[in-house]
Each structure stands twice: as structure tokens, then as C-alpha cells.
Symmetry: C2
Subunit: 251 residues, 2 copies
């Protein structure tokens, strides 16, 4: 009874050795749970509950939550606790814009720094992505889809930008969870392959255009018409009306 429903999704707990990587282990578990949609945006992340689930004290849970908060995956409200982040439409647009800017720069560097090994890894990643899509393994697809962009960043070779992009990719997953309208993209694998081909061909302008189009297509699949905040406002002001009935407020 004490472990409430929302966090019940986290059951596979690895005990982890007594090193500091226990920290990382819990961090990865929670990040996966959020990005794989096992923890919905807005879910309360109680320190006590998580501590029981992972078999550690609140101290270490707190550290993990702070890390996730810094990456904007979790929102910490003072004296209220931690919640899975609910990125606003504005924030979603900002993240996608930031990605277009950073990934454009990375395409340029990737074209310069590419090697057969690098490109081979990228192609294998896309192959795995295609496979997961064919098998209908949504979780794996989400992860691998993001991995492609991170691997491209690794090819570009700027670890600082890679760290930024890692955060942006995670946040994108959360954004897709919240705002994706209808079914997911038909197959972005083909777009990924095209981008690799353009990089190999050293066709900078084309590669950049493809990447920008790819990211724009992703954003266009979202329903960012600020309907979310409106709904909140309505629910607040509609308090007097309890059940169905006729609305009294103006449209």
C-alpha cells in the first residue's frame, strides 16, 4: 500500500556494487522509465517511495533527482517534491530550435572528422533502428532513434556539444510523449540513411538541409497549439460545474 501506483513501473531493480556507480544505475533506471513512457509527465516522484523501490536511502535518490532536474527531465518544486517534467509547447519549440542549430554545426564537423569506422557504426545503428521498427519494439526504436543523433555528435567530436545534445535528445523524447499527434513517424530511418549518405559524399549543404528538414518534420508531427495550458485554465475555472451539464463560461 505504501508504494503507490505511479512508481510501480520501476520494478527491475539492480542491486549494483557498492561503488558510486550505484548512483548511475538508479539514474539510468529512472531516465529509461521516463523516456520509455513508463512514468508519465507530471507523475510525482516521492523520495521515500523511490528509496524503498531501489533499496537505498532518500539521500541517494535526492542526488539522482537533482541530476535529472538539471537536465530538465524532472521538475523540483521547493517543499513540494519532484515530478516528471511537463515541457510546455514553448519549451518544446525551443528545444527543437536548439537542436536544429547545434546539429547543423555538428554536421559540418562530422563531414570533416568522419572515418570508415565512424560511418560504419552509424550505419549499424540505423540498421538496428529499422529492425526495431519492423519488430514493433517501440521502446527500442525511441532509444535507437535518439542514439543516431548522439553518435553523429560523437563523430563531430565536440564533447561539450555532445553533452548539450544528449540533454536535448532526452527532452525531445519527453516532448514527443506529451505532444505527438496520431501515430509516430512512418520511418525516419530513411531520413537518417540519407543524412549519412550526404555526409559521406561530403555534400555539406545537402546534409544540413536534410537534417533541418528531419528535425522540422519531427516538430511538425507535434501538436504544439498551446491546447495544454488552455485545458488547465478551463479545468480551474470550470470548478463550479461538477458533472457534465451545460457550460456557463463563454467559449
Amino acid at each position: 500500500m505504501s508504494r503507490t501506483a505511479p512508481t510501480a513501473a520501476l520494478k527491475g531493480v539492480v542491486k549494483a556494487s557498492r561503488t558510486t556507480s550505484q548512483n548511475d544505475s538508479i539514474y539510468n533506471e529512472m531516465l529509461s522509465a521516463i523516456l520509455e513512457q513508463r512514468l508519465a509527465p507530471g507523475t510525482k516522484l516521492s523520495e521515500d517511495t523511490l528509496g524503498e523501490i531501489f533499496g537505498v536511502s532518500r539521500t541517494v535518490i535526492r542526488t539522482v533527482l537533482q541530476r535529472l532536474a538539471h537536465e530538465k527531465i524532472v521538475r523540483i518544486q521547493p517543499n513540494r517534491g519532484a515530478f516528471v517534467a511537463e515541457p510546455s509547447p514553448e519549451e518544446a519549440r525551443e528545444v527543437m530550435q536548439a537542436r536544429r542549430l547545434i546539429e547543423e554545426g555538428m554536421i559540418r564537423d562530422a563531414i570533416r572528422n568522419q572515418s570508415p569506422e565512424n560511418i560504419g557504426e552509424l550505419r549499424r545503428s540505423v540498421a538496428a533502428e529499422r529492425l526495431s521498427l519492423e519488430k514493433g519494439d517501440h521502446e527500442a526504436w525511441v532509444r535507437l532513434s535518439g542514439d543516431f543523433h548522439l553518435m553523429l555528435a560523437a563523430v563531430a567530436g565536440n564533447k561539450t556539444l555532445l553533452a548539450f545534445l544528449k540533454e536535448l535528445v532526452s527532452r525531445t523524447s519527453l516532448i514527443i510523449v506529451q505532444y505527438q499527434k496520431g501515430t509516430l513517424s512512418p520511418c525516419s530511418c530513411d531520413e537518417h540513411t540519407e543524412i549519412i549518405d550526404a555526409i559521406v559524399a561530403r555534400n555539406e549543404n545537402h546534409a544540413i538541409a536534410l537534417m533541418k528538414a528531419h528535425l522540422k518534420a519531427c516538430e511538425d508531427q507535434l501538436n504544439l497549439c498551446e491546447s495544454d495550458e488552455k485545458a488547465d485554465l478551463y479545468s480551474i475555472f470550470a470548478k463550479p460545474i461538477k458533472e457534465a451539464g451545460k457550460s456557463r463560461t463563454a467559449m
Copy 2:
């Protein structure tokens, strides 16, 4: 005797109200101390000592150190503790490259989103910067010089990119502390003014070129010839030789 010399620079402790902003207060104090060169790169940041200085327990110090570590201002070594970061020459180049990329994108947005109020604030900031330079107030100049770029980011309007740039600007200060050769730049105020003028004139290409040149000039003032790591290696292998004497290792 217990409060060791390195951290003695932090003396002006604000008690802060019992809100969570006590956290922020200590964070700001420590960040300022590092960026204003009162805490040199590599300085050990003992939890106990800092706790005594700020009159709080290690718990809250730990939170602050983790935050600074996430921003790469502090490096945490497991079981060893926290140290003021010592960015490598490679990291320095990465940070400057990331800045060129991000600030180019922000120039574009700033040109679109500018308003008389925004521009006025920018100009006032540069005026304050010039004044601090004339007065020889190095600390204020470092801060204001960074503020210009952050205000420009605010004009651009993408809070996500602003957060990234805030981190990069802080790291730049640390980099300058470590690698600046000779005296500091003659007067980057003029460059800042030129950038504002180009933005007001909506001359995108010119504004971007100026910004890139400005950042490149900053990087060129650094001594990033990996001499730092070499020095470390030498000092390690030179252990047998205690005082002056003739070196036995090959040049």
C-alpha cells in the same frame, strides 16, 4: 586552523532566509569566488570546511557542489572530493567552438526579436563594462563582459539556449583564468558596441562575422598549446630531482 587557506577567500557569508534560496545564495557565492579568481583552478573544496564557512551542514554544501559539477565549474572525483575545475586545452577549444555556433544562431534571432528596450539594455550594459575597465575593476569587468553575451541571448529569446550559454560563459571565465597569456584584451567593449550596431542595422552577415571574430580573438589570446599537461608530466617524472640542479631527463 581548521579552515584552511584556499577557502578563506569566502568570508562574506549571507545568512539568507530559511527558504530554499539559501541554496542559491551559497551557489552564487561559490560561483563568484571561482569566476573572480578567488578560488584557483584545482583548489580542493572540502565539504566540512565549506559547511563551517557558510554555517550549514555538509548536506547543503553537497547539493551546491553537485550543481556546480553539472555545470563543469567543479570536478567531483568519487571518494576524493570536489575541486575547482581545470579545463584542458581541448575542453577550452570545445567551449569556444560551441560558443561560436550558439552565438551565431542567437545573433540571427536577436536581429528578429530586437526592441528599443532590449537594445537600450544592451548598450547600458556595454557602458557599464567600459566604465569598469576604465576604473580598473577587473572583477566587475569579467562579470559584465559575460553579461553582454547573456543579455544578447535573452534578446534572442530561447531560454534553452540561454541556459547553455550561461554555462559556457562561466566556463569561459575559468578558461581565461587558466590560459590567458599576457594582459587581458585591450577593449572588447568596442567589439560589443560594433555587434550591437550591426544588429540594429539588421546586417546579419556582418553581425555574425563580428561575433565570430570577437570570440576567435578571445580564443587567440589564450595559450592553448597543451603546455599544461606537459608540465604535469614533467613534474611527475622530475620527482627524483629535489632542488635546482641539472636535469637528467632528455629535453
